[in-house]
Symmetry: C2
Subunit: 338 residues, 2 copies
């Protein structure tokens, strides 16, 4: 590869001058600029980002830690960060973390080795205290979808509980009384929060949810199918279901229809997340929109701000909580009079 030295030699100027041209430095004559640019062109010179990072101590990269890329939810997250990176002439360094503490640690470590001072991390496994420590070592770290009180100004998260309450109100507005729930048996936090919020709201309205109408399964299409199966098998009457996520909701709908129930005619179904498939299902899914891409952009901006130390009081003390938005589509409707 040609280096800055080659360019300098052939252009007949010093290395320093070439560097100035590259960086639009001040005090360079037009003649030099043109001469150098011409030589760089001819030689196909490409500056070495590693060398630059070494001396400037700036890697010009934004890191993202996510469990995996194939889940559209995480792809959107990464995409949001990517947008901010591009706006700031930085590049995306992706580190997939899988599902274990060790691999989450390894993922963040790779970013540290690359001296990536700005990172957006989605971590559900590493314990709070460890993340708090990490934040000191890496000021430009922002957590997404996790709320840790001590570092809340570096956390961007969604109010799952409130989202569930919105869903509850929506279904009650539609006159539903016997409402079932399908929840996930994994991931401690989110499912629990959603279920809590939902039943709290029903309690408040004076029509508590019947324990027999809560089913747990894998958070997948198949999980939704089997949970709906169980619900049907229970013999309990219900006219609506609040489902943990969209994939399960679509699974539930397919089971319901296979058993002769119309959605939303006989049973209303509401999902959560508003991922891609929600718009492609039939009936189109009513769900709660989780603005993950927007949140990720916010997170990246915030990480940049923290890294640059431009923290003002307003930022360092404010919470960054998002609220899901109800998206009414076709899978919920007013209760049929029986």
């Amino acid at each position: 590869m040609t280096t800055i030295k080659d360019v300098a030699r052939i252009a007949g100027v010093s290395i320093a001058s070439v560097s100035r041209v590259i960086n639009n430095g001040p005090k360079v004559s037009k003649a030099t600029i043109e001469k150098v640019n011409k030589v760089m062109q001819e030689l196909g010179y490409t500056p070495n980002a590693n060398a630059r990072a070494l001396v400037t101590r700036k890697s010009m990269t934004i890191g993202v830690v996510i469990p995996e890329l194939t889940d559209p939810f995480f792809a959107s997250l990464a995409s949001g960060v990517d947008k901010v990176a591009r706006e700031n002439n930085m590049q995306l360094l992706l580190s997939t973390a899988g599902q274990s503490v060790e691999s989450e640690r390894a993922a963040i470590n790779l970013l540290l080795e690359r001296r990536c001072q700005t990172v957006v991390m989605h971590s559900k496994i590493i314990p709070d205290c460890e993340l708090i420590t990490l934040c000191e070592k890496l000021p430009g770290l922002v957590l997404i979808n996790r709320h840790i009180e001590q570092i809340k100004h570096k956390c961007i998260w969604l109010d799952n509980e409130e989202g569930a309450k919105i869903a509850a109100r929506h279904l009650m507005t539609l006159k539903h009384k016997n409402i079932a729930c399908i929840s996930s048996k994994y991931q401690i936090e989110d499912p629990a929060l959603r279920l809590n919020g939902f039943s709290a709201e029903l309690n408040m309205a004076g029509s508590p949810i019947s324990p027999a109408l809560i089913k747990y399964a894998e958070p997948t299409l198949q999980g939704g199918q089997s949970a709906a199966q169980n619900l049907l098998a229970s013999g309990q009457p219900f006219s609506a279901i609040f489902v943990y996520n969209d994939a399960m909701a679509i699974g539930a709908i397919s089971t319901l229809e296979d058993n002769g129930y119309k959605v939303p005619g006989d049973v209303s179904v509401i999902g959560f997340d508003d991922v891609l498939i929600a718009r492609y299902s039939r009936p189109k899914l009513t769900t709660l929109n989780y603005p993950i891409e927007k949140m990720a952009q916010h997170a990246a901006q915030l990480a940049l701000t923290h890294f640059k130390n431009e923290i003002v009081e307003s930022v360092s003390h404010s919470e960054h909580k998002y609220l899901p938005r109800l998206v009414k589509r076709e899978s919920t409707s007013i209760k049929n009079s029986p």
Copy 2:
């Protein structure tokens, strides 16, 4: 940040020794290893990957160039490359390229600056000749979903035409005679190849496709809906549709059903790609599986091989063509006797 010097000083050994410990170098006494490891631990030392890349001239990264991340197809591509990267202790450097020549060039350039010698690129815009030149500069470059004869040993692509033929045969096996097509009006290559293959196969079977039964639209859900609308409005009879991709196929199905046609009862619909939504639609979509993640893994491996110069005759002369696989689900069935 603590450096190798700090570690050396505190451990009371030379920089060279610390380096040897870090790299599991040969000829280091057990005592030194332990001493150094202890100090590294205490200091929370993290080696600087940029400095290492500079001196070793190896960046330990695999680059990926894709138009965007939110399309599940490209997310799978990136994910395939990521898997290979992890297996080889390398990291993913992602460069999104958007939809213009300039931004495709910029994307690859960022990778060059980072001295990323292994890259998998999805490019539909940059002209062949430019890519051929680029391949000389970047021996570890592999193109995915593009076939350029002069560098075919560095191309991994899918046989779109043959895929379309498989679809045609499937529909003919199901006794369909009047078959419609919905194609995309964008992206020069893929849609044309698919349509060509499809009509060629029907021609061979002696029942050429009627031009009135070919509609073009945006390659989206909405595009599929409007194309199906047009098809219905044409008044021409048809009992099956070959659709450019899954999103359009699902759009077409919704329009058909909204107009009282049952799928597959009245009309069979077959998609292409087998992306996530194909499994979530109702009826589940019959489609052609495009093994993009597997292809991406292959591409990454191949890029690694080319970079390491481990090219053997068999690799440098063979084609890397993939065939889509028919996935029979619920949206196609044998033609109803009218």
